[in-house]
Amino acid sequence: MSPATFDLLAAIAKIAVVWAITLAALLPNLVWMERRGAGLIQDRPGPNRVGPLGLFQALADVLKMFMKEDVTPLYVDKLLHTVAPAILLVPALTTFAVIPFGSSIPVLGREVKLVIADVNIGVLYVFALTSVGVYGLVLAGWASNNKYSLLGGLRSSAQIISYELSMGVSAVAVLVSAGSLRPSDVVAWQAANVWNCVPQVVGCIVFIVAAFAETNRVPFDLPEAEAELVAGYHTEYSAFKFGMFFMSEYANMIAASAMIVTLYFGGWSLPFVTFTGVWGGLLSMVVFWAKTLFFICVFIWVRWTLPRFRYDQLMNLGWKVLLPLSVLNLLVVAWIVATKGGA
Amino acid sequence: MKPLYWIPLLPLLGFVLNGAVALASSSRRARRGEGGERLPYGERLFHGIVGVGSVGAATVLAFGALVPWSEQAFAGRALPVVETAFTWMFAGDFSVAVAFRLDALSALMLSFVTFVGTLIHLYSVGYMQEEEGYGRYFAFLNLFMFAMLTLVLGANLPVLFIGWEGVGLCSYLLIGYYYDKDFAAAAGKKAFVVNRVGDVGFVLGIFGVLALFGTTDFSFLEAAKQQVLSGSAPLSVYAVCLLLFLGACGKSAQVPLYVWLPDAMAGPTPVSALIHAATMVTAGVYLVARTSALFVLAPDALTLVAWVGAGTAVFAASIGLAQNDIKKVLAYSTVSQLGYMFLACGVGAFAAGMFHVFTHSFFKACLFLGSGSVIHALHHEQDMRKMGGLAPRLPQTFRTMLIATLAIAGIVPFAGFFSKDQILGSVAAGGHPALYVVGVATAAMTAFYMFRLIRMTFAGEFRGTHEQEHHLHESPATMTVPLWILAAGSVLSGFIWVPMGVSNLLPRFLAPALAEMPEHHMSHGAELGLMALSLGAALAGIALAVRWYTGRPAPEHAAHRPAEEIVVSPAAAAFCGKTGLLGALVKNKWNVDEGIEAGVLGPFRGIGRVLWKGVDALVIDGIANASAFLVELAGDLLRFFTTGNVRNYALGFTLGALVLVAYVLFF
């Protein structure tokens, strides 16, 4: 087998693994987790009718989404109205291309790194995709020809641009200390030294908060605030298109958790453990997905615990608290790295 | 030992502190609409401590530096200490460093500048305490000390020039201390402008030194001593010396640039004592002595210095004879004494000149501070015709002033006697009989007007108002203690150089720093004779003053009459009447100010008017207006391209790019 063919096959296999985990295993069950979690927190049962413990609720929901009539309102911009959910979903799913989900597995005498594309601008790639995702929300809001949707779209664009800044700056601090923009290098640095969440606790907190805002989750779900905007940008969506919005929210959540784990919580690594061989590689995958799942749970936990911010509070938090904090964090990290003579 | 630059730096620090606090305080008071009254006690305490403390600390540092150095010097082992702080500017092989130099000359200057300066700061604490601008005053006074110490310690002409201009600035600021009074503001401006005339000469002189020696560092003096000039210098040594001397004339108030000094008395009296008597005005003498190695290469220039000095001495003394303002008398006396110093330098007796600088600083400071004490007691009355009979009321002031007066009059064994005698002796020994006669005559006049001052002020009966009489008081200790110290200095400072080989400390000390002149030796007999002659002249002057100015009885209703109508001495008035025109001229200060107004300023105003009306308004404005008109015309024609439509502009832009690209491509 020529190296090129091998690479191609390996890439296809990795894509298959990642999508199997995210799309097939995590995504549907997240809905169940969220609703059961909400029940737990609010001291009520949650869905428990479909299947044991209501486990098949997600399946039923998906079926319902597919079966319902797809209503397209009369005065919408048809093209954009259709395209918008896809624009939102695609970046969310493609983020995983650069996230290392395990150490490496020896296959046919070669080490296969467990990351789909180990590119040297991986972190920038993630940010690029995040910034593209905004279009989905904005266009959905605009194309719906509905003032609530429009307001939702406006809010989301302002919110995401604002929080992407502090998110980016705190991530830059991580990149400075690791000395590379390649996510696998960042993980390797953390495995060799210390998880970034320890020395850069400020940056870590800023990043997590900003990630909540980027995914439009409570307490930053102003673009879809039911109480004010009906449902914001997806008011005019139904059936499958609505399902895509739904999916993209959870996909984004998984992607954000994966990024948090990669940048701040050591990715697939564990302290004092080295993963070698086939089993080591598989084990590292388990570690990575376990950590990711933990942060997904945090997302859910926060959603059902905190109230929503007011819009001005949101902007104040983003610009006057998080951004200065992240800049400060970056300065300190850069100073330390510079005085130590480079990472 | 701390580096030398700490000595000027400390007063600068004091200036910054005092200035900042004074600024904050005055703007706060202005905001609250307060003003006119004295500062709160805390602020006065702060300014006093910082002002006196910084200068006092500088004094301690200075003596800490110069005492060991002087011991070495007397042992004949001391070389000039040069410390470079940093390089100020450089261009090609020319460079100027901010450097400080300690040698015999600067050590001498340093000693009395810091010492007298500290005393006067201390005196000011008492004298100025009623003033609203207390903080500003101390800030400027500290700044002055910084500049003066830079001047004295500067190791090259540019650094000296910084100090030179710095003291000029502070002089301006302090003369105009009462800036809300027109005469004070005008006097400040006058001092500044007249000094500029001299400074032009000084700056050109610095350039001349650079052209002659290729450096402005005082190392050029060594070269000058060995007469090593840099070949084909376009400037002669004469020209350079004359230019430097012009600068010295401006700063040290020599004829014809003396006119600013009497007016400078508009400032507070301690300022007059410090700046316009003891220290700053001697900077010119210092400059000439410093560059003495250069001056001896140009004997004719030295002769000019001598004659200017002698002329100034007698001229100013003659004006002093008839002044009625106590400070004006002292001012003219200062000018006259400065003339003596230049006279000494002019005949090559640089050490004698510096000796007089040294002694003069003590007795003149004492006199000014004493007059300040009198003025303070009389609530700012300066006219001697309204004084009289103050001796019992102000005993400390009277005694110290009397000592200083005896010193300036040249009575043995006070300091002035020795220094003046050195000068006159050198003049006589150098073979300048005419200059000697002028010198002796000046000595007699000095003795006369000084005792006239003492008699008018302290003898007889009080001629002021009853209210003034009621409030008469001796000054506080912060004022009398400096007076006594200075009086002691007036007695003792002469003993560092007693003729006939009794004491030779000063000339031995100064010799390495000054140019060597051929010495003229006189027999002890001749020396004694000359001494007797000058002493006799002084005694004659004193006798006349005491006879004429009895001050008793006081004229009728003196308290209620304007000063102009009070005749203190009928005998003097009668004498003045007999001299006719000459007396009137003396009384009117030889009409010099009016002469300058008519002879110099008038023509300049005329030229200015021609330049304004003719050249500026017609030619230059014409050119400007014509070009403006052309531009307007072009604009009127071109404005139709401004369609207001952005797309037109974009199209024009594109077409222009099209043409450019086509040009690049096809041509």
Binding site: D7 | G644, V646, A650, T654
Partner: protein
């Protein structure tokens, strides 16, 4: 999977990149000249700038010179500044005149 880009020879002739960049530039220019909506004109200008960026990158690639990347970096930074100010101007303009049609905004003439 292409290897790390950089020293490999170019497999596509650079002239093709240059042509593409120039064509994009001209399209942007046409938009800037013909559009009447200030925002659309602005969009076209952004396109022109990016087309020039493409040309820079091509030449830099041809010369093996990283300075072109730095210049493109600066162009992008300046474009960001320009967009911020330009859009603020449009918003202010719209508030004043209720339009951003450039043909209707022509008070500033002789």
């Amino acid at each position: 999977m292409s290897p790390l880009p950089g020293i490999a020879p170019m497999s596509v002739p650079p002239a093709a990149f240059l042509a593409a960049g120039t064509i994009l530039f001209v399209i942007g220019l046409i938009g800037a000249l013909l559009k009447r909506n200030a925002l659309s004109i602005f969009l076209s200008i952004e396109l022109m700038m990016n087309a020039v960026n493409l040309l820079f990158l091509t030449w830099g690639r041809m010369r093996g010179d990283a300075s072109s990347h730095v210049i493109v970096f600066f162009v992008i930074a300046i474009a960001a500044a320009e967009a911020a100010v330009g859009l603020a101007v449009f918003v202010a303009l719209f508030r004043a005149r209720q339009t951003i049609e450039v043909d209707r905004v022509n008070l500033l003439k002789w």
